[in-house]
């Protein structure tokens, strides 16, 4: 069932067993799990079914700290959420990502990778991926021409990604959600405040506003925030009428530990192996490639060198070329053009900016593009701005901040990789000037990957985390968080697969709670 909240009489009360706030990858993944169940589900989406500039403007925010991408362009505020412009990169976190690492302050998840494995497997079909197989050997068995580079696994390995078509959740699952009798999708229903009960031990209801001035209320037995890392934190912080610091924020953790993946070129690889070298396993063509590998350092090397996790992709190029970072390539204008082209059925030539076809012949020179974990940092945070949006809600203020560990990890990765690729005879690695510098600075091309994580981090101890291992907000009996905001650390894998897996896990938990 679908209702535009603007068509409801002012002051309507929406009620269900479960209320999910936000219809992106996390929210829709959860909602799909409840179709046909005896429970009723409210799915509240602030935007409409399609992109609308006025709705998108609600995501505009202030940026302090390191330069960042415009917030209103980094996420999408309509049914389907940011899957409306994601590229489809999927890979599970590595086992070491869940460990408490003594060289990474605030690291450690309250669950292990093997506990997530069944949910990763369930997430694969939702994202229209292949089987839950993520070793280079798995893919080489399927296609013998996918050959990993001859690296010493004690030093480096090939971490695999699978590629979603990419699944645009809004388009792919619209009919399923709208056709479900027990899932009530309300669009243009912006949740502006979570109201706690008298004892502040549970959520009593949600204030919902529309841009045309209507106010409604939503009530349920359980609530799930599934907006996105910035919006989840913003909403908790802005729910401050009865608790000045916001809900779930007794220990000043909400909004802190904002993390990104540092996505930026760091060097070059010139192949040394004689003759044509098969690097097909590492190649990527948007919309075509099903799986590819990236180069990663082993867990043993990470431990020995006391560095963060990260991977490097091989992008064919030529000496003298300057590779672009993610933010440099994906300007807001370019993303908008791509979104429009896709919305129009990809009719006509693609807009400027789609990846060029690979040059003929086996490439021998590559740009090395890093995707590195960011160290959890309490000073990297989402706060409330003094500016308010059209719904009178404080806008988000983002302070993205990196640490010395982030910078050192980047440099050490390239040094170790240079030695291993030299030792194995694969080739020679060149570090960009800024990577070699020892002054702790980042280049002007510094970029994330639009991967927002960590603002409601998971920890068993309420003094160290906003949610517990079930994703329930500490101190609130019926409020849960879905999405990458619960990640204590972000690993080097794109966040979508993991956040969908966690959403399915949360859904199972809530089904047991409501049974």
């Amino acid at each position: 069932m679908h209702i535009d909240a603007r068509t409801l009489p002012n002051g309507s009360v929406l009620e269900a067993d479960l209320c999910i706030v936000g219809a992106g990858a996390a929210g829709i993944s959860m909602a799909l799990e409840w179709i046909g169940s005896p429970r009723t589900v409210l799915l509240l989406e602030g935007g409409g079914l399609e992109y609308e500039p006025a709705m998108q403007d609600l995501y505009r925010g202030e940026i302090v700290g390191l330069p960042y991408y415009p917030l209103q362009a980094a996420r999408l505020h309509y049914f389907g959420g940011t899957t409306g412009h994601w590229a489809g990169f999927c890979s599970p976190l590595d086992p070491i990502d869940f460990d408490k690492r003594d060289w990474v302050p605030h690291s450690g998840w309250p669950l292990r990778r093997k506990e997530l494995d069944p949910f990763y497997a369930r997430a694969q079909p939702l994202l229209e991926l292949g089987p839950y197989e993520y070793t280079a050997g798995d893919w080489q068995r399927r296609d013998p021409t996918l050959v990993p580079l001859p690296l010493d696994p004690r030093v480096m390995w090939t971490k695999m990604w699978q590629f979603s078509p990419p699944t645009r959740f809004g388009a792919r699952y619209r009919d399923a959600v709208i056709g479900a009798r027990n899932v009530h999708l309300y669009t243009h229903a912006n949740v502006c405040e979570l109201e706690a009960n008298e004892s502040l031990g549970a959520v009593d209801g949600l204030r919902v506003r529309t841009l045309d001035g209507k106010q409604h209320r939503a009530r349920a037995r359980y609530y799930v925030l599934a907006c996105c890392s910035i919006q989840n934190a913003r909403l908790l912080l802005a729910s401050n009428r009865r608790t000045p610091t916001g809900l779930g924020n007794a220990h000043d953790l909400v909004g802190r530990f904002f993390m990104e993946h540092i996505e930026i070129p760091g060097g070059h690889l010139a192949l040394a192996l004689s003759g044509p070298v098969n690097t097909k396993l590492y190649a990527f063509e948007f919309g075509q490639t099903k799986a590819r590998g990236e180069l990663a350092l082993s867990a043993a090397v990470q431990r020995e060198r006391r560095i963060l996790n990260g991977t490097v992709s091989l992008e064919p190029g030529a000496p003298g070329e300057v590779a672009k970072s993610t933010f440099q390539w994906g300007t807001p204008e370019r993303l908008a053009a791509l979104r429009k082209w896709q919305a129009n059925g990809k009719v006509g030539p693609p807009p400027d900016g789609l990846p060029e076809p690979a040059p003929a012949g086996a490439p021998r020179f590559f740009h090395l593009v890093t995707r590195q974990e960011q160290a959890p940092n309490p000073d990297s945070r989402v706060m409330l701005s003094t500016e308010r949006d059209a719904l009178d809600m404080p806008r988000a203020k983002l302070a993205w901040r990196l640490t010395e560990l982030d910078r050192r990890s980047f440099r050490v990765f390239y040094e170790v990789m240079g030695r291993e690729l030299g030792r194995s005879g694969v080739g020679r690695v060149q570090l960009l000037d800024w990577v070699r510098r020892d002054d702790g600075t980042w280049p002007g091309t510094l970029s994330g990957g639009w991967h927002h994580m960590g603002t409601t981090r998971m920890h068993d101890n309420p003094r160290l985390g906003v949610v517990d291992a079930t994703c329930r907000v500490h101190g609130l009996d019926n409020l849960y968080v879905a999405g990458a905001s619960v990640y204590p650390t972000g690993g080097a894998a794109n966040p979508t697969l993991t956040l969908v897996a966690l959403s399915l896990r949360l859904s199972d938990h809530l089904k047991r709670a409501l049974a």
Binding site: R419, G422, Q430, L431, D433
Partner: protein, 130 residues
């Protein structure tokens, strides 16, 4: 290897290497003739111009080796002991390069992570090609 350690090793190597360059060269040394040493495997990988620039930069970074004989001596001195015994087959220069990488005997020149042996070879190339 950090820069300081690299320089220490280089200085020691230069002393030891005085022997073969002063007329006591062995048969094994002959396999490492100057012409062969000045043709690093980097040439087909990076091209002559890049290798020449690496060589010039290396000589700036390690002025103690800014002479043909000093470079050759440093390369010869870095060989494992077995290759200095005339009747034993020594490693190829390619094997020395691989062993440098495995042992961490690397240096960053012009941004390239190079084995110290091939960096010295590049320096020789830059001098002989000038």
């Amino acid at each position: 290897m950090d820069r300081r350690r690299f320089l220490d090793v280089t200085a020691t190597s230069a002393l030891v290497a005085g022997l073969p360059s002063s007329g006591r060269a062995t048969n094994a040394d002959a396999a490492f003739n100057l012409h062969a040493l000045a043709q690093p495997d980097l040439l087909p990988i990076l091209g002559p111009e890049a290798v020449r620039e690496i060589g010039v930069r290396y000589r700036e970074l390690v002025p103690a080796e800014n002479q043909i004989q000093a470079l050759r001596a440093a390369i010869l001195a870095a060989r494992p002991w077995s290759s200095r015994v005339p009747w034993l087959a020594g490693p190829s220069i390619g094997a020395m390069v691989a062993e440098d990488f495995a042992a961490g005997r690397t240096i960053v020149v012009q941004g390239w992570v190079l084995s110290t042996t091939e960096a010295r070879q590049s320096a020789l190339y830059s001098m002989l090609a000038d």
